[in-house]
């Protein structure tokens, strides 16, 4: 544990890239060709699906003597993400050293301090597991659960590991992104993983299993309420995020099947025209711009509500983004109240009162609330997408085209992800202010965790957005068949009014 300080301090430098990674990935899409848009999105999925399970992996490990339970969790989930890369790096860098940490977070700690020389005491089945996976990789059943996905990916990473490792460990902060690029560029292992994922595993499945592991762990190992409060997966489920995601997946899959059967039934010019139209739709789904970061940083409180409400009115569906707006506004109000309380604390302190204890509590409270807010906002966003899908499929006819709706939904996604980003910044700012007197190794993991979960949240929302594509596709097809000529399409809305 003596190396804890060394290992945790670097986290802070890595936080921002984590978020940017999640945020910028889709932004790259428009630059690439249309066809590559979809595959390019897949790494997103992989990242998120892989990340969650690691919370579970990390949870499995016994973490003795860590100061507070809260920071313990954070360390694990925070490190989990990098840990997997660390692990793959390790296993490829030192294949002869058959030692990889039993807990992912341990590994990364080792990786940080001494590349490739993990402590033998931390040997576990991890390496064996990866090895086994390599052997059975061709079998489909190797993808039994998140673990499967994760390990298969690790192996894929391993095979490209050499090019990654060349970048040096100092580039660890960028490695997630880099590696993804490397892998995406032509690793067959990765492609296979991707294929398997599509067929056998959905995001909600992976998330659900990860959550169940979290539940199991919290039930067995943790009895204190405070600990549960920082488990993103549990909270996300509590806000019914998983259920809505599942429901959305169901609608998406049904639509996809329908689209395929329609395409199969068409031929010749008819098919080509439809394909062209569907292509336009796809474009709308890959044009999300996430990278204009600093632009209009501090917006007024009402702007988000206004913006998202306006976008939804353009969608012409009866679902309203009230819940999302409420969740978001509650979070901001809380931060404000917290800042005020901090200020008062500061004044008290000048009067010579002992506030050390108070500040510690508030740091933990901010962290817990941050994770909760992110989980809630994400769950509400996914609920909104689910409802939108249901209404696009079964709602009353509206005078908006599927293409217009897709474009609006793409903007909605951008707004939601931006909001997550600025919310996480608010939270970390507030953490930094409140934790001025905290040691860096206590505060940094909390900050990392907030950024990480914000990045995860953004990935979930983007994945959920992608699930809407088949829904809009079938909506486009149905509108076509109902009003085959363009004139009718124009006339119809008029007659409705």
């Amino acid at each position: 544990m003596s190396d804890k300080d060394d290992t945790e301090t670097p986290v802070i430098t890595e936080t921002t890239p984590v978020l940017n990674d999640g945020n910028c990935e889709p932004g790259k899409n428009p630059e690439s060709a249309d066809q590559s848009a979809k595959p390019k999105n897949k790494p997103e999925l992989v990242i998120s699906t892989r990340r969650r399970p690691e919370v579970k992996c990390a949870s499995d490990l016994e973490t003795p003597e860590v100061q507070e339970p809260v920071s313990k969790d954070v360390t694990q989930s925070g490190w989990g993400y990098w840990g997997s890369w660390g692990k793959s790096l390790l296993s490829s860098a030192s294949a002869t050293v058959a030692t990889v940490g039993q807990g992912i977070s341990n590994v990364i700690e080792k990786a940080e301090t001494s590349l490739g020389i993990p402590s033998p005491s931390e040997i576990s089945s991890e390496v064996k597991f990866v090895a086994e996976e390599t052997n059975t990789r061709d079998k489909e059943n190797s993808l039994a659960g998140p673990f499967g996905v994760f390990s298969t990916i690790s192996t894929a990473v391993q095979s490209t590991g050499k090019s990654v490792i060349a970048g040096g460990l100092d580039a660890l902060e960028f490695i997630g992104k880099k590696t993804m690029d490397v892998i995406a560029e032509g690793d067959p292992g990765f492609k296979r993983t991707k294929g398997l994922m599509n067929r056998n595993s959905t995001l909600s499945q992976v998330l659900r299993e990860a959550k169940e592991k979290e539940e199991l762990w919290t039930a067995n190992e943790v009895t204190m309420e405070t600990d549960k409060n920082t488990h993103y997966g549990l909270l996300f489920d509590e806000f019914q995020g998983l259920s809505h995601l599942e429901a959305l997946e169901m609608l998406s899959q049904e639509s996809e099947i329908k689209v395929k059967s329609v395409l199969n039934s068409l031929s010749g010019e008819e098919l080509e025209t439809l394909k062209l139209e569907l292509e336009q739709l796809k474009e709308a789904f890959s044009l999300a711009e996430f990278c204009d970061e600093e632009e209009e940083e501090q917006k007024g409180d009402e702007d988000f509500t206004k913006e998202i409400t306006e976008l939804f009115s353009q969608l012409h569906v009866s679902s309203k983004p009230e819940k999302v707006a409420r969740a978001r506004n509650t979070a901001y109000e809380w931060i404000k109240a917290m800042a005020l309380a901090e200020k008062k604390e500061g004044e008290k302190e000048l009067e010579g009162e002992n506030t050390e204890k108070v500040s510690k509590n508030s740091v933990e409270a901010i962290h817990a609330f941050a994770i909760r807010s992110l989980a809630e906002l994400t769950a509400c966003s996914i609920e909104l997408f689910h409802k939108t899908a249901a209404l696009v499929l079964h709602g009353q006819k509206q005078d908006v085209t599927a293409l217009q709706r897709s474009q609006t939904l793409s903007q909605v996604t951008v707004v939601l992800c931006k909001e997550l980003s600025s919310l996480s910044k608010e939270f970390t700012t507030s953490l930094t202010t409140a934790g001025v007197k905290e040691k860096a190794d206590a505060l940094n993991p909390l900050i990392t965790a907030v950024f990480l979960e914000a990045s995860n949240s953004a990935s979930y929302i983007q994945d959920a957005f992608q699930l809407l594509l088949p829904v809009l596709e079938i909506s486009l097809i149905e509108n076509r068949t109902e009003s085959p000529t363009h004139e009718q399409q124009v006339l119809k809305p008029l007659s409705e009014h």
């Binding site: 539940e215 039930a219 067995n220 509590e238 019914q240 259920s243 809505h244 679902s319 249901a390 079964h394």
Partner: protein
């Protein structure tokens, strides 16, 4: 939030549009009554823990389905993975009572090969003066289909707890007797996460109970 429960049951709530499904569920899960509520789109999700015996909790996942016909293709998909259901009608709306047959027929088709334990719920019993369905005929219908009958009011919080907990208890008994079993690929009943100590004592209790029966 409590992570410790014995089982997780998935319950579905069905019935005609505007009989008060969402209001009943909200009263049960959130403890309040919403005067106005938008019609449910597709399906909504709620959950709550229920303590059926001291220390024995069951997590209920409640699927609130849209009553509107146009969402029927969505809501149908949810029968299969439910272990229990509340079939609601509005005691002030005769039509919603007459449709109970249809609802049961529909579930029968879509629940295969599993089964759902249903309770028939006569809702809005606070509006007794506008009653169009007598308790007697509702009980008769329920009995014909082997269901229990209960009258509830979300507005006045009458029998809301009872409707859900009685159903939960009935399902729990069936699970204990092995008439409903946890199955791979079926989400109706899932085993919960119980600390080891409780789990072992639970096993003991289980076998004792069986002997007593």
């Amino acid at each position: 939030m409590e992570a410790i429960w014995l089982y997780q049951f998935r319950l579905i709530v069905i019935g005609d549009s505007t009989v008060g499904k969402s209001c009943l569920i909200r009263r049960f899960t959130e403890g309040r009554f919403a005067q106005v509520s938008d019609p449910t789109v597709g399906v909504d999700f709620f959950s709550r823990l229920v303590e059926i015996e001291p220390g024995k909790r069951i997590k209920l996942q409640i699927w609130d389905t849209a009553g509107q016909e146009r969402f029927r293709s969505i809501t149908r998909a949810y029968y299969r993975n439910s272990v229990g259901g509340l079939l609601l009608f509005d005691i002030t709306n005769r039509r919603s009572f007459q449709n109970v047959h249809e609802w049961l027929e529909e579930t029968k088709v879509h629940v295969q090969p599993y089964q759902i334990v249903f309770v028939l719920v006569g809702h809005k019993c606070d509006l007794d003066t506008q009653r169009q369905v007598t308790r007697h005929e509702a009980e008769k219908l329920a009995a014909a289909y082997g269901m229990k009958y209960i009258e509830t009011s979300a507005r006045d919080a009458i029998n809301v707890e009872k409707a859900f907990t009685d159903l939960t208890r009935d399902i729990y008994e069936l699970v204990k007797r092995g008439e409903i079993t946890i199955q791979e690929g079926w989400e109706g009943v899932k085993s919960g996460f119980v600390p080891n100590v409780v789990h072992s004592s639970e096993e003991v209790v289980k076998s004792e109970r069986r002997c007593l029966c």
